[in-house]
């Protein structure tokens, strides 16, 4: 209950003073997606319907995965008052942060539903794959956000480094471009990027596009690696992390 209450409070604070609250973000995102899809479908010479479905769902899943990781860097620092008052696990901030991202993502799913109804052909198998892909993604996000959050407590300039990395990551992740447009010999390399792998097993599965075995393997390996990092950082930093706050 504490995680729910805290995450809701933070989300409310972000949209304080707005009558539409989180739905204001949904509306602005929808306008942004339409505008980009309109221009880029003409540039790429693809039908607007196909490109809008691909880009809109991709952008929403990407924002959830990459946005959650990107913002995770500052989450424990932002909650420092909680940790300087009494003993508390830093996982509290991590869970509250991910829960808040999930609430935002749930709002954005209105757009995905809209796409599914009017622009894309989805299937039961695709939706089931997306569901399990999202679950695996959550398993990846928990240790990743912990790792980034804890490391940022120790190294304050990591926030800027991470923001820069994620700006580049958007360009090398197939959000606006399709994997099948990459020369076949290089397609597997795309999945070195964990966000590209998770996007393939969520967004692409949802749109009935091919799910690559390399993406599944990469997502599993990255999840395992993230838990190893979590274990390493917990051992090295957690005992005295409050001294760095």
């Amino acid at each position: 209950m504490a995680v729910h209450a805290y995450a809701s409070q933070r989300l409310r604070a972000r949209y304080a003073g707005s009558v539409l609250g989180e739905f204001w973000l949904v509306a602005t995102t929808a306008v942004f997606l339409m505008a980009v899809a309109l221009v880029w479908s003409m540039l790429w010479r693809i039908s607007l319907d196909d490109y809008f479905a691909y880009f809109a769902t991709g952008f929403i899943f990407y924002t959830f995965i990459a946005g959650t990781m990107n913002e995770a860097a500052g989450t424990i620092i932002a909650d420092s008052r909680l940790y300087l008052n009494s003993k508390q696990s830093p996982m509290f901030s991590v869970f509250a942060h991910i829960y808040r991202s999930m609430l935002s993502f749930a709002h954005q799913l209105v757009i995905v539903l809209f796409v599914a109804l009017f622009f894309a052909s989805t299937s039961v198998a695709g939706i089931v794959t997306t569901f399990f892909g999202t679950l695996l993604c959550m398993l990846f996000l928990v240790p990743s956000c912990y790792f980034l959050g804890m490391l940022s407590v120790r190294y304050r300039d990591l926030l800027h480094v991470i923001h820069s990395i994620f700006q580049i990551l958007f360009l090398v992740t197939p959000v606006m471009w399709r994997i099948d447009r990459v020369p076949e010999a290089y397609q597997a390399w795309v999945f070195i990027n964990p966000v590209a792998s998770f996007l393939n097993i969520t967004r692409d599965a949802f749109l009935n596009l091919p799910v690559y075995p390399e993406a599944v393997i990469s997502a599993l390996l990255w999840t395992l690696f993230a838990w190893l990092l979590h274990w390493f950082v917990a051992r090295r930093l957690e005992k005295h992390f409050t001294l760095w706050l």
């Binding site: 209950m1 504490a2 120790r154 300039d157 001294l243």
Partner: protein, 254 residues
């Protein structure tokens, strides 16, 4: 058995500076060091805030902590509350500890008073149902009436503090740790708050109170520690401790 036991507990703070917190500096030091064939230098220095502190807090203890600014009082409270782990030695505790060192913690100005009650109680580990059952008592104590349904940013400072106080002092812990004695509101509410504080203190198995107000220490404590440069300089009777502290102050002021 001691409720809190410190055994040669030390606390070292990293001295925060622009470079000690920089991953870019750290990486440059390590890589630069390797290239130049020497070990990377770590631009972090440490300062000892608490040095080999050993004492016990037992049931019935009303322990006061006094000392100059920077003597280590807040660090000691945080060590005892579990917020900090000792960098050497050990600190063990049994029982439920409540640290009233920051009693407006977690208050959300955009949420209503009632929402803040639910949130704060959830943070104390209560379920929604339990929080709902305690809420009327807190509302009544805070004397906010219908204002409890308004956002906190519409409250006066007094109303805000009354609510924060009512929530923070709702439950009686085994061990109560306080940084200065709490008080809130106007003269009438302050009397009510004082009565509740006295009840809270008398019901707690042990009290640890850090304060600059010697009168409060004399009123609430049956044992006093005087901190000096991160060490326990005196541990004993409140009267003797006060005398010892006043001598320290006199010596410091020349």
């Amino acid at each position: 058995m001691a409720l809190i036991q410190l055994d040669k507990a030390c606390l070292d703070y990293p001295v925060t500076g622009q470079f000690s917190h920089s991953i870019r500096t750290h990486v440059a030091q390590v890589i630069g060091g390797r290239l130049l064939g020497r070990k990377g230098r770590w631009p972090v220095s440490w300062v000892r805030a608490l040095d080999e502190i050993s004492f016990e807090v037992n049931a019935g203890d009303r322990l006061g902590i006094i000392g100059h600014n920077g003597a280590g009082k807040t660090s000691l409270l945080r060590l005892m509350s579990g917020a900090y782990s000792p960098t050497a030695g050990s600190v063990t505790s049994t029982g439920n500890i409540q640290a009233l060192t920051d009693f407006t913690l977690g208050m959300d100005a955009n949420a209503t008073g009632l929402q803040n009650i639910y949130f704060r109680l959830a943070f104390m580990g209560l379920t929604r149902k339990e929080a709902e059952s305690f809420a009327p008592e807190i509302v009544e104590f805070s004397e906010l009436g219908d204002f409890i349904h308004y956002p906190l940013h519409t409250y006066s400072t007094g109303m805000y503090l009354r609510l924060a106080f009512a929530i923070s002092t709702q439950f009686e812990p085994d061990i109560l740790i306080m940084d200065e004695v709490l008080g809130a509101g106007d003269a009438r509410f302050r009397a009510k708050a004082e009565a509740r504080m006295n009840k809270l203190i008398s019901k707690a198995n042990a009290l640890v109170l850090s304060s600059h107000a010697i009168a409060n220490i004399a009123m609430y404590c049956n044992r006093v520690i005087v901190m000096k440069s991160g060490r326990v300089a005196f541990d004993g009777d409140p009267g003797d401790a006060t005398k010892f502290y006043q001598e320290l102050v006199a010596a410091a002021s020349g």
